[in-house]
């Protein structure tokens, strides 16, 4: 089955002429038709457009003019990315009927690389959530256990890769939304350095934290995906004009002599014993491969969560102000006046979690509270950044658990605060703007995937990828697949 293959395996088949992009697209579309009713990863499937793109790729391969590793490869993108002519909901009712006249830069780059976009993937509304239960449309299931969540907010993107409903996907990570679902769904998820990948066309949640990254079946695929989307974009002033290395070429360098930091603050009470055991075993594996471990201290970790839950809602309250019923998306009829139209539209269009954060953020930014909340949170953010800077003076990468536990059951975490704790290990990385990656590091007794998080220096994704690659090559976790049947 072509749907079992990684990007690089699929590409090799295309180049050999053993398979065509059209065959791959058809197989994926058939598998989506058969399995997605169970997994519910896709919000929108663009089958016709996908087959048209695939046919173009067929022609390129036939003429020997293929565009590169992603040419003809079927991919999915989180519904947070604007797609020209294809509805973009961001998992929210308030964007109902919104069809952007432009592509997000990352989507445009994938398309330019010849990728075949299968459709748009489910997510927590406006990327706020850790379970994809906050989607306004439906909850995506974890392919390893359909009664469990896939994580969030990029749950659809993670589940699609785990269930072989796309060769790879794009997600976004504001406080862990790539790494946490990657850990829950057992795939490789990479959140690049802030500024490494353009945010243009990514529907903003928290502008200073959001970053785009891939979900992939293995580390090499993640490297290929990053290669395609990384680099400066004149449309995004926060995207960095820093050269993009050849990530795939860097992978083979191994971890011999690599200095690996182990932060004490990430092995805390509340960390699930099975997760801890798996992560400690992974550290031993890295040692066995020649890495040198050293304990590092990130003392402000415990304040990261609180700072995040002020900064992210503050920015979200601002970014979401534009959804008012005036210009696009939902407008609830029957309003008496302008304010009534705003209130009705936003009242009906936003879900509970979004409203909670908009209110939190509005409060945190309001006159008289700014310094006490937003201002203070920014100071904590600086302290978290300094923690990492100090640690990275001594080590090349930091490894830690991605999440405190494996995937939880749907509906299990009704209390928002306990839900927020899920991101405790991923959030500091966003506050510091650093790259982070989750790679499969084992399974619980119940058969649920466990993720190992690798954190790197700014713009040093290459070291994360090579660490993960060495670990992946030394383990067999990748061979296990969820037992899904139609």
């Amino acid at each position: 089955m072509l749907t079992d293959l990684t990007i690089h395996e699929l590409g090799a088949r295309f180049r050999l002429g053993d398979a065509t992009p059209t065959q791959a697209a058809r197989e994926y579309l058939a598998r989506i038709a058969a399995l997605d009713p169970k997994v519910k990863a896709y919000l929108t499937v663009t089958g016709e457009a996908a087959l048209a793109r695939a046919a173009e790729a067929d022609a390129r391969f036939k003429s020997g003019a293929s565009l590169g590793p992603l040419d003809g490869v079927p991919l999915g993108v989180k519904d947070v990315f604007c797609t020209r002519g294809v509805r973009t909901t961001c998992g929210s009712k308030i964007l109902e009927g919104f069809v952007p006249p432009y592509d997000a830069t990352v989507v445009a780059r994938l398309v330019r690389a010849g990728a075949v976009i299968l459709g748009k993937l489910n997510m927590d509304e406006f990327a706020m959530g850790s379970s994809t239960e906050n989607s306004a449309y439906f909850t995506t299931r974890n392919p390893w256990d359909l009664s469990r969540v896939p994580g969030g907010s990029s749950g659809g993107s993670a589940a699609a890769v785990a269930a072989d409903l796309a060769a790879a996907t794009l997600g976004t990570d504001t406080g862990g939304s790539i790494r946490q679902p990657a850990a829950f769904c057992g795939n490789v998820g990479l959140k690049p350095t802030y500024g490494r990948v353009s945010r243009f066309g990514l529907v903003a949640f928290a502008s200073s934290l959001d970053q785009v990254g891939p979900f992939a079946k293995d580390v090499l695929d993640a490297a290929l995906m990053l290669q395609a989307i990384a680099g400066h974009d004149p449309l995004d002033s926060t995207s960095a004009a820093i050269p993009v290395p050849d990530y795939a070429a860097e992978l083979s360098r191994g971890v011999q002599g690599l200095r690996v930091g182990i932060p004490a603050e990430y092995f805390i009470e509340g960390l699930d014993a099975e997760v801890e055991a798996a992560v400690r075993a992974a550290i031993e594996t890295l040692k066995g491969l020649g890495a040198k471990t050293e304990s590092v201290s990130l003392p402000h970790t415990e304040y990261g969560l609180a700072a995040y839950y002020l900064i992210a809602p503050a920015e979200c309250s601002s970014n979401l102000a534009r959804y008012d019923g005036v210009k696009y998306g939902l407008r609830v009829p029957g309003a008496r006046d302008l304010i009534d139209m705003y209130s009705r539209t936003r009242g009906a269009g936003f879900g509970a979690e979004v409203k909670r954060r908009v209110m939190l953020g509005t409060y945190a930014l309001s006159a008289g509270y700014y310094d006490a909340y937003y201002g203070k949170a920014q100071k904590v953010r600086t302290l978290v950044q300094r923690d990492f800077q100090r640690a990275f003076e001594r080590v090349d990468v930091i490894v830690a658990p991605t999440t405190p536990s494996a995937a939880f059951k749907m509906g299990e975490k009704e209390d928002p605060l306990s839900m927020y704790l899920n991101d405790v290990f991923t959030i500091p990385v966003n506050l510091a703007g650093l790259p982070g990656l989750s790679v499969p590091a084992g399974f619980t007794k119940a058969g649920l995937p466990i993720g190992l998080q690798v954190i790197g220096k700014a713009f040093d994704e290459a070291t994360l990828l090579r660490t993960a690659k060495a670990y992946e090559a030394a383990t067999t976790w990748r061979e296990r697949k969820p037992g899904l049947t139609a």
Partner: protein, 483 residues
């Protein structure tokens, strides 16, 4: 108003920058296009779109900052200012707040011959909003539409210190500022089209009183005259209220030019909490010394300096120099004409008396596009100075030049307007006039000196204005004395 009050006025001036594209996207800024034809996803604030700073707008901001003696901040940044209104695509405006482009400047003005220095608090950049089009009046409209053509157009806001004391000073400050931005070519200064807008803060306090008066903001003044009238109205209104022992309410008022009064718009109770915070989609804007210096060398001679030079080098009165330097195009025109005819006083008179009467408004573009080029005006002046035509004929020639664009010499020679100064030829005409108006000659001889002017007029009439007035005068005097 009975008591004596100290008046404290501060002005906030918004000037639209003359960039080709908007503040944060590539859309055109041309005025008057059909609604929503100059928009893109960025200036419509569509999901996922991001702003990119217009470098030229920053340059214009730096240029103006230098001209008004502000210190340009090396590190400045944009912030978001939040409020809900349908003409604002994102429901926040990208503006500058705590770290503006420039601060601490001043502008020197002169009122009734007295010089005053008005402090400038800050200069910052921001984007404009769109425009609402109501079907009918705002209160009864069945529908309202939004035109986003203006949304995202670059604005520069210049905030004065509360140093202004009278409406005349306010007017002088505004005219001075306008002249500068127009000189710099960063704004067209057109208040009617909204490229320059002004809000005023005004408060009164009893002379000698320690606490500051309550501040009232006046908006919606779209001409210099409106600003002065509105301020005068407010001074009286607040003075009367204070006389009557009332408390001034802190509020925003709108100037209604039809009624000639300010009306309350909203009180402080409904004041907005703008929830400013640094714009996360834009990195801090670094304006280094090299950039500032590169802009500094492009600064033209500014109105005040030029005015002083005109008075010094061309012996113009302060009044004439002021008028001529009020517009860069006009001053350029004057200098070009002087360069060719060498007669500054005559050139100033022709420009201020004749040219400005013909031109629509004091529009810069009209001066530049005028049919009488500075060279042609110089040609006309030369014909007067060398005695070829009389001043009176010259006025007719000027009008013909203005309509046809022809030069003075062409018109004068075609229409035979050359001045007659030949005493022999004019002598016969003078004799004829004296014979024809014996009664007037009697009056003159009886001591009615005014009769001479009548006789001169008759000679001019007989020669269709071509007679040299000097020659006519001396001929008449000579002949009358002999009679």
């Amino acid at each position: 108003m009975s008591g004596a009050y100290d008046v404290v006025i501060g002005l906030e001036v918004h000037a639209q920058l003359l960039t080709r594209s908007k503040m944060f996207c590539g859309c055109s800024t041309v005025f008057g296009a059909p609604p929503n034809t100059q928009t893109c996803p960025v200036c419509q604030g569509m999901p996922g779109t991001l702003p990119v700073i217009n470098r030229r707008a920053v340059e214009f901001g730096i240029k103006t900052s230098l001209a008004i003696h502000c210190t340009v901040n090396a590190d400045n940044r944009f912030a978001r200012k939040h409020y809900y209104y349908p003409d604002m695509p994102k429901n926040y405006q990208i503006s500058q707040y705590e770290e503006p482009l420039a601060e601490h400047g001043h502008l020197d003005i002169e009122v009734d011959g007295a010089a005053r220095r008005i402090g400038i608090e800050r200069l910052h950049l921001e984007e404009d909003v769109g425009k609402l089009i109501h079907e009918g009046s705002l209160e009864t409209a069945q529908s309202s539409q939004v035109d986003f053509n203006r949304a995202g157009v670059p604005l520069m806001e210049i905030v004065s210190k509360p140093d202004i004391r009278t409406s005349e000073e306010a007017g002088a400050y505004l005219r001075g500022l306008r002249a500068i931005v127009v000189y710099l070519g960063v704004c067209d200064g057109n208040m009617e089209e909204g490229s320059m807008r002004c809000d005023a803060n005004i408060s009164l306090k009893r002379v000698g009183a320690i606490p500051l008066g309550t501040k009232v903001e006046v908006k919606n003044m779209n001409s210099f005259r409106n600003v002065q009238h509105a301020l005068e109205y407010e001074m009286k209104r607040q003075g009367r209220a204070l006389d009557a022992g009332e408390r001034i309410v802190q509020e925003t008022r709108l100037w209604d030019p039809d009624k000639g009064q300010t009306v309350s718009m909203r009180s402080k109770e409904f004041a907005h909490d703008y929830r400013y915070f640094p714009e996360p989609d834009l990195p801090p804007l670094n304006v280094g010394a090299r950039w500032i210096e590169a802009v500094r060398v492009t600064l033209p001679e500014l109105p005040a300096a030029r005015r002083a030079r005109f008075m010094r080098a061309h012996a113009l009165t302060a009044y004439d120099a002021d008028l001529l330097t009020g517009s860069r195009a006009l001053a350029d025109y004057f200098e070009a004409a002087v360069a060719q005819c060498g007669k500054p006083k005559a050139a100033a008179n022709w420009i201020l008396n004749e040219l400005l009467r013909e031109l629509p408004g004091d529009d810069e573009r009209a001066v530049a596009a005028c049919a009488i080029s500075p060279g042609k005006l110089a040609g006309l002046i030369t014909l007067i100075e060398d005695g070829t035509i009389s001043g009176k004929i010259a006025k007719d020639v000027f009008e013909k030049m203005y309509r046809s664009g022809e030069d003075a010499r062409t018109i004068v020679s075609r229409e035979g307007l050359t001045q007659v100064a030949d005493a022999g030829a004019l002598g016969a005409v003078v004799d004829g006039v004296l014979a024809e108006h014996a009664k007037v000659v009697e009056d003159y001889k009886a001591g009615k000196k005014a009769a001479l002017a009548f006789l001169v007029g008759q000679v001019m009439k007989a020669t269709v204005g071509k007679a040299s007035p000097g020659v006519v005068n001396s001929l008449l005097a000579e002949k009358l004395s002999k009679l």
